[in-house]
């Protein structure tokens, strides 16, 4: 297991990056590692498009009467921000990039179960993204990422169909990826890698894949129904055509609430890897952390109604959905406590990935606890539809998912690229992002409590101070996101070679050279111990 790997210079060794050259070798690759990089490039591109929309939004809100654009344009900006960030960045980010790269490496396989299907997933994603970008270039869409009816079916004069089609197509990419992961995890684990020896990241990806398979078809059907009503005036959602406007919300949130967990569950998996590596300890309460992922995945399908407490949904339905929503808090709390306990008597280093991980715990705790305000019926009535919601889900999705994604990227970058990035800059960026994030979104909790509704292009002047604070924070956050982009690209050429295991981490992915050879392992490893057996190494004389 702990056999040392000969240090051979990156250039003179054949690995997945230099095994073949030319654009064809990338676009027709079936290597999960190359496909992961294709995803990395595409989602980074989409992230900066969504980010550009965010920059314009925050600039516009510097002044109560709107500093930049007309309300129609503002509405298109926040819609594009939401659609691009959710469907094209947050949902694929960790599964499609880190998951693709790591699932075979972590379970000791040579590739995913269906390598060509994996490549197809990427193409499907790209086609969906192109539809959405085409809609953006030809006038945009103004429904919000939630596409609420009957506004989206009857009243909006924008490219609803094109964007809906984009999200619809991209959904199939998620379904195929999820299917691929499930089969791979079931069938292709290395000898000796039992379920309870799997890294928690694999557990999290497994839970996420189940949601992909069960949830995504529902949103696909919903978007198809929406298109049917918009094009052919079949009365499904618009009461003027005999439909029910709330039916859409039920269908939409039945997918889109689990989608929140699609975004956060893989992040929780990444966290377990980081915390354990940088405190050199087995995750405290391994099985509790693993099962809490499954519990969150299961509960995620039963809480959609908490988006609809003020729609006139029956008070008894509200009661049930409120109770179920509170239940989600418990597995989430279990994770936070176990990560914290993992630090106890650990050997804690402050490398950049760990700083992201510690930042994540703080922001995820805040995001999770503010969820209690929204699961509580009486306070949700006041806070629903305000900036409190915006702040809450940004704490989870941006403070949580993006922090973990960046932490994971920093952690596995030496494996992916074979090179090290400048650690000082990376720690600096982690700090800037943490500070910028809080400055941006904390004031929005206050705005929401004061009553400022979300999706407002102009707002009463008493809300200006907090909006200016938020915009100022956003400028810091924006800089924070640019710094890693620069040093990651820099490191590709100038970074010092990382060696197979720069963090002295456990896990099969660290037992093969960096970057790994195309077939991942020269010999399929045999697993003889649990995940995170940091102490065991000492016994074997490390």
């Amino acid at each position: 297991m702990s056999a040392t790997i000969a240090e051979v210079p990156i250039e003179s060794r054949v690995h997945y990056l230099n095994a073949d050259y030319g654009i064809r070798s990338w676009l027709l690759t079936t290597d999960h590692k190359r496909i992961a990089l294709l995803y990395l490039a595409s989602i980074t591109f989409m992230f900066f498009i969504g980010g550009a929309a965010a920059v314009l939004i925050r600039l516009h809100l510097l002044e109560p009467q709107g500093a930049l654009v007309q309300p129609e344009t503002y509405n298109k900006l926040f819609t594009m921000h939401g659609v691009v960030m959710i469907f094209f960045f947050l949902i694929p980010a960790i599964p499609a990039v880190l998951g693709n790269f790591l699932v075979p490496l972590m379970i000791g396989a040579r590739d995913l179960a269906f390598p060509r299907l994996n490549l197809l997933s990427w193409y499907v994603y790209v086609v969906g993204a192109l539809f959405t970008l085409a809609a953006l270039l030809t006038g945009g869409v103004d429904t919000g990422w939630t596409f609420y009816t009957p506004y989206s079916t009857t009243y909006s004069n924008s490219n609803v169909i094109l964007v809906g089609l984009g999200a619809f197509i991209t959904g199939f990419s998620s379904i195929l990826t999820g299917l691929n992961f499930i089969v791979t995890i079931h069938k292709m684990r290395a000898p000796g890698l039992t379920w309870f020896r799997m890294p928690l990241f694999i557990w999290a990806i497994y839970a996420t894949s189940i949601i992909f398979l069960l949830g995504t078809p529902v949103v696909a059907i919903t978007l198809a129904l929406l298109a049917l009503e918009r094009l052919l005036h079949v009365g499904i959602f618009d009461p003027k055509l005999g439909g029910d406007p709330l039916l859409f919300q039920h269908l939409f949130w039945f997918y889109s609430h689990p989608a929140v967990y699609i975004m956060i569950l893989p992040a929780l998996g990444v966290m377990s890897e980081l915390i354990s590596c940088f405190s050199r300890k087995r995750i405290f309460g391994y099985s509790f952390v693993g099962f809490s992922s499954m519990a969150i995945a299961a509960l995620s399908f039963l809480v959609w109604g908490h988006h609809m407490f003020v729609t006139g949904q029956s008070v008894y339905a509200g009661l049930v959905f409120s109770a179920l929503s509170f239940l989600v808090a418990i597995p989430s709390a279990i994770k936070v406590f176990n990560w914290t306990a993992t630090l106890y008597k650990g050997s804690i280093s402050y490398d950049a990935p760990m700083l992201y991980a510690l930042g994540f715990i703080g922001l995820f705790t805040m995001g999770g606890l503010t969820g209690l305000f929204l699961a509580s019926l009486a306070t949700d009535v006041h806070l629903n539809g305000t900036y409190f919601i915006v702040a809450h889900f940004h704490y989870i999705m941006v403070g949580g998912t993006i922090m973990a994604y960046l932490g994971g990227l920093h952690f596995w970058w030496p494996k992916i690229s074979g090179r090290l990035y400048p650690d000082g800059w990376a720690r600096f960026a982690a700090l800037i992002i943490f500070v910028g994030f809080n400055l941006t979104f904390f004031p929005q909790f206050m705005l929401g409590y004061l009553g400022m509704p979300r999706r407002y292009a102009v707002y009463p002047p008493e809300f200006q101070v907090l909006n200016v604070m938020s915009s100022a924070g956003a400028s810091i956050l924006g800089v924070g996101y640019l710094i890693p982009l620069i040093y990651f690209i820099w490191s590709l050429r100038y970074g010092p070679p990382a060696g197979p295991n720069p963090w002295k981490a456990k896990g099969l992915e660290w037992q093969t050279p960096s970057p790994p050879p195309t077939e991942n392992f020269e010999e399929i490893p045999v697993v003889t111990e649990e995940a995170y057996a940091y102490a065991a190494e000492e016994k074997h004389g490390g």
Partner: protein, 316 residues
Amino acid sequence: MLLKLPFQPDQASTIAEGVDRLYLFLTFITLFFTAIIFATIFYFAVKYRRRSDDERPPEIEGSLPLELAWTLIPTLLTVVIFVWASSLYFRNARPPRASSEIFVVGKQWMWHLQHPEGPREINELHVPVGVPIQLTMTSEDVIHDFFIPAFRIKKDALPGRYSSIWFEATKIGTYHFFCAQYCGAEHSGMIGWVYVMSPADYAQWLANNSSGETMEAAGRRLFNQVGCNGCHSESSSATGPSLKGLYGQSVRLADGRTVPANDDYLRGTILTPFKQRVAGYPAIMPTFQGQVNEEQILQLIAYLKSLGPEEGKVKQ
């Protein structure tokens, strides 16, 4: 400028204080747990920082008592919050018996409000202090949402049905109301003011703003104008059922269902009569969709309501 920064919206309704108390408690819980987690992480991170590169910490598997503790304590806490929040919500959701009613119609992008006494307002709502008021709401087009932060209330105004909320203002003053459900281009322009007045001022305001026609009278005028009276009259030659005493009763429909003749039923029958035809009558009533708008339907219902219920009789 920062000194003037408010941290709490006005508390101007009977329910605001209760909601704020829960909000404060939740804020305390949030700060408490965040502080504990932050402090613990910080303490561990410093105390157990890596001192040499080949340090190997002792193995700790986990601890069942700890797992149980941090499963059960949050569970108990969420049960407390759930019970508190839900009972408060139930109390807040039920309007007192003697509420006076005001009607709200949202349309892109303004709020139309009408008082039964006659006055109609756009993006302004005048109400007396200390009187429970029920808002009956609907929408002419897309989903809107009526939100008065100072009263801590909010409810969607949906097309195709009625929803309602109630409040009792406790403080004379002027407060914002907002549309809180995104509804298109001028969504953020769909805002207005609630004027909470002393009962005397309110009576004065009503007197000054009544055009002389109450909602009921407007409804009666419409009833004749659009031709309802052609079929639904008391004369023996009438082809439709009499509407006298209909409101609030049960109606037996041609498809065998029995439904209450409430606002939603009457509205539905005016717009889609074929969907809920009364048993024993031919399907000849035309739809009035496009001929009457939501405000006029509310006036028609106000008129029908004034025709009074007759207790215990099932309309055939």
